[in-house]
């Protein structure tokens, strides 16, 4: 079996993309790529909040599906142009791409198997968030999220997985609200209204902190 110990992640994905021409090489490249990242992907999935839809065997399935999708979509990986192309940056770019795939797999899982996003779209995911995770306002938000009841937590988590940072007033997809409606034995419209109420309550809770921060600037 070929040795890929010293290849970059981008190279490994390139070998995987040529599975048709060199199946053995693609499998060897997959083994190396998997070995480099499986612990990280597994930890990221395990860190997700306790949720009735993601537990036990589901975690294993999500990790396996993430790598299977990465194998099938290896040709879509496009390393972002960066001034620094050191090993750490290159590894993080590959993991960010894997994270996008894992996110999509979880969405499919929550939506009962419906494919919501193509692997091709994953390269387009980017974050424009510039709030410090340590700010008092974020801490207050964390406390508010921690106190949500199970159904609201499920609704918010599903919304979060579709949320694209930087885009305002995003709606929950029909597929997602239907999946939630089925889980909670209600209608998609009720789920949408519940999501709106969750945000109204959060705004009410957080507004004093937002106003204070705005004044201090």
């Amino acid at each position: 079996m070929p040795c890929f110990d010293h290849d970059s992640n981008s190279d490994l994905l390139g070998y995987m993309a040529m599975a048709g021409a060199d199946p053995e090489g693609a499998r060897a490249a997959f083994s190396e790529f998997y070995g480099r990242h499986v612990d990280w992907v597994h930890r990221m999935v395990k860190r997700l909040p306790p949720n009735r839809s993601i537990s036990g065997q589901d975690v294993v399935d999500i990790v396996q599906d993430t790598f299977l999708d990465a194998y099938k979509g290896a040709g879509t990986f496009k390393p972002m142009a960066s001034a620094s192309t050191d090993c750490d940056t290159e590894r993080r770019q590959a993991r960010a791409w894997l994270g996008g795939i894992a996110k999509n797999v979880i969405l499919q899982h929550l939506a009962g198997g419906i494919l919501l996003t193509d692997v091709d779209d994953i390269n387009a995911i980017s974050s424009t968030t510039d709030l410090s995770e340590e700010s008092a306002l974020v801490t207050a938000t964390r406390e508010a999220l921690d106190s949500l009841e199970e159904r609201d937590n499920d609704i918010l988590l599903s919304w979060l997985y579709e949320y694209k940072p930087g885009q305002k007033n995003q709606r929950m997809s029909n597929a997602e609200s239907r999946a939630l409606a089925e889980r909670w034995q209600t209608s998609p419209e009720n789920i949408r209204q519940r999501r709106k109420r969750i945000f109204d309550q959060l705004r009410e809770t957080l507004q004093p902190g937002q106003v204070a921060l705005e004044k201090s600037r």
Partner: protein, 119 residues
């Protein structure tokens, strides 16, 4: 000109996203987000045996189950319309047709899930 602020009331969604990300509720999808996660100690969460063999993931059996999961039947739209109508009107009545559709969809989904688990 109106000044844009990342913490204006309109940005509660972004605030929730940032807080959720810091709580580990979001899978990192950018280089910076990945960097922030790489300090978490590895030994905190051991890898399950089922994930220790890379090539097992590519096995046909796993791939077949994977494909089936993607093709689970989606409940018919009329079922949702009936549920929405019942919720809106407050009657709680669901027509026998909608109930039959719900049962059929549920049976089909359970059948696929059950055969996937057997494999």
């Amino acid at each position: 000109m109106k000044r844009s602020s990342p913490t204006s009331p309109l940005d509660t969604e972004q605030l929730v996203y940032t807080a959720a990300r810091s709580m580990g509720w979001i899978i990192p999808t950018t280089e910076n987000e990945v960097r922030a996660t790489e300090d978490i100690p590895l030994d905190d969460i051991p890898l399950p045996d089922a994930l220790k063999n890379p090539l097992a993931t590519l096995d046909e059996e796993v791939a077949r189950a994977h494909r089936k999961r993607r093709h689970l039947p989606v409940p018919a739209s009329e079922t949702f319309e009936a549920l929405a109508r019942a919720a809106r009107d407050g009657t709680g009545d669901i027509s026998p047709e909608a109930e039959a559709t719900m049962k059929r969809d549920r049976d089909a989904a359970e059948s696929v899930l059950s055969s996937t688990k057997k494999e």
